[in-house]
Amino acid sequence: MSDGAAPEPVTTLCPNRAADARVYPLGDEAVVYVPAAMAAYALNCSALAIFELCDGRRTVADIGRECAETLGCAPDALLPDVGRGVSELQQAGLVSYG
């Protein structure tokens, strides 16, 4: 994933994984391939955790809270990081809102 600044997503939106994305788990990371774009991405464990929670039902805020719960953090502690992660996934075409 790029380190470029990505726009903050609206935390009430529900990001959804690209329907045609193929996930190749590799330990706690994964390669995700999008056939339509003929593009592959390496997701580290944090990005993969966020990606897997992008199911079109959870909001960005929900995803942030679930990640925080998993890691034992305060509920909103990870929201900025999760928001950036979702934005990067969106920019890569791996998730969308709609």
């Binding site: 190749y24 590799l26 330990g27 391939y33 003929m38 592959a40 390496a42």
Partner: protein, 273 residues
């Protein structure tokens, strides 16, 4: 039509051959040096392409089955284009293989692949390993057979860029600033060799040679980025590479000096090979 003065160079990869004809000794001489370890004395395989280099109005021209647009028609220009055309013809003749921008060297019958873009230090690293007793498979183009997990030899003459130790601007990649090195024939691997490790070379000015373990996902992505015929394989390539990185370890080596990098790689990979 072949004229009386024309000579032919047969470039062989397995049982596939590309024929280059020319009446210009400078062109053929340069190509013979590049492909000296891939030359076939007589045709023994299937010709997959023919290229003819001639001189017209003081400029070189290439005729053949590939579209070639020379930039300036100079000797360096025509040699570079014929070389890439010959490689492309051989790649096209073996679409079953995954072709990587990678150097490759072997020790004790086990191959290490060094995938990376031009200017990343592949040639420097591979030739330094060969000076330490490793066998040479390629310094730039490495075909991998996904059915057997073997690296096939593509032993064009290794070439080291001039001005080692300098950061290389992108345009240098296309310049004729490489010098071919001679390898002892017994240092050249002639057989498909099982792949045992993937090492991503990364040249950085003034960097101390250091080898680090790469995660499978980043190793896979880097390898896929260097797959020259990815559009022909797409998801099959992704699937294969993701399986491969679970079978063989991946590393990255950062360095500014090929000799020091070869020492580190040889020492650290001793147990994998």
């Amino acid at each position: 039509m072949q004229t009386a003065q024309q000579r032919a160079l047969l470039i062989a990869f397995g049982d596939r051959e590309v024929v280059v004809r020319s009446d210009d000794s400078a062109v053929l001489g340069a190509l013979e040096r590049i492909f000296t370890m891939m030359r076939a004395p007589v045709s023994a395989g299937r010709t997959v392409g023919e290229l003819e280099v001639c001189r017209e109005d003081g400029r070189y021209a290439v005729r053949g089955i590939t579209d070639v647009t020379l930039e300036d028609g100079s000797l360096a220009d025509v040699v570079r284009h014929v070389r890439y055309s010959a490689i492309q013809l051989l790649m096209d003749a073996r679409p079953d293989l995954l072709w990587f921008h990678a150097g490759a060297a072997a020790l004790r019958g086990r191959a290490v692949l060094f995938p990376g873009p031009p200017g990343g230090g592949k040639s420097s690293l591979v030739t330094s390993l060969c000076a330490r007793g490793w066998s040479y498979l390629s310094d730039e183009i490495a075909p991998l057979d996904p059915l057997s997990d073997t690296v096939l030899p593509f032993p064009q003459a290794p070439a080291i860029r001039e001005y080692p130790g300098r950061e290389m601007p992108p345009e240098w990649v296309r310049m004729a600033n490489k010098e071919e090195l001679r390898l002892r024939p017994d240092r050249v691997c002639r057989e498909p060799t099982p792949i045992a490790a993937l090492v991503r070379p990364s040249y950085r000015r003034a960097a101390r040679a250091d080898l680090s373990v790469g995660s499978p996902a980043t190793t896979a992505l880097h390898l896929l980025e260097q797959c020259g015929n990815f559009p022909s394989h797409r998801e099959t390539a992704v699937s294969y590479v993701c399986a491969l990185v679970q079978r063989v370890p991946g590393f990255s080596v950062c360095f500014s000096d090929g000799e020091a990098a070869a020492d580190v790689v040889a020492r650290r990979l001793e147990d994998c090979l």
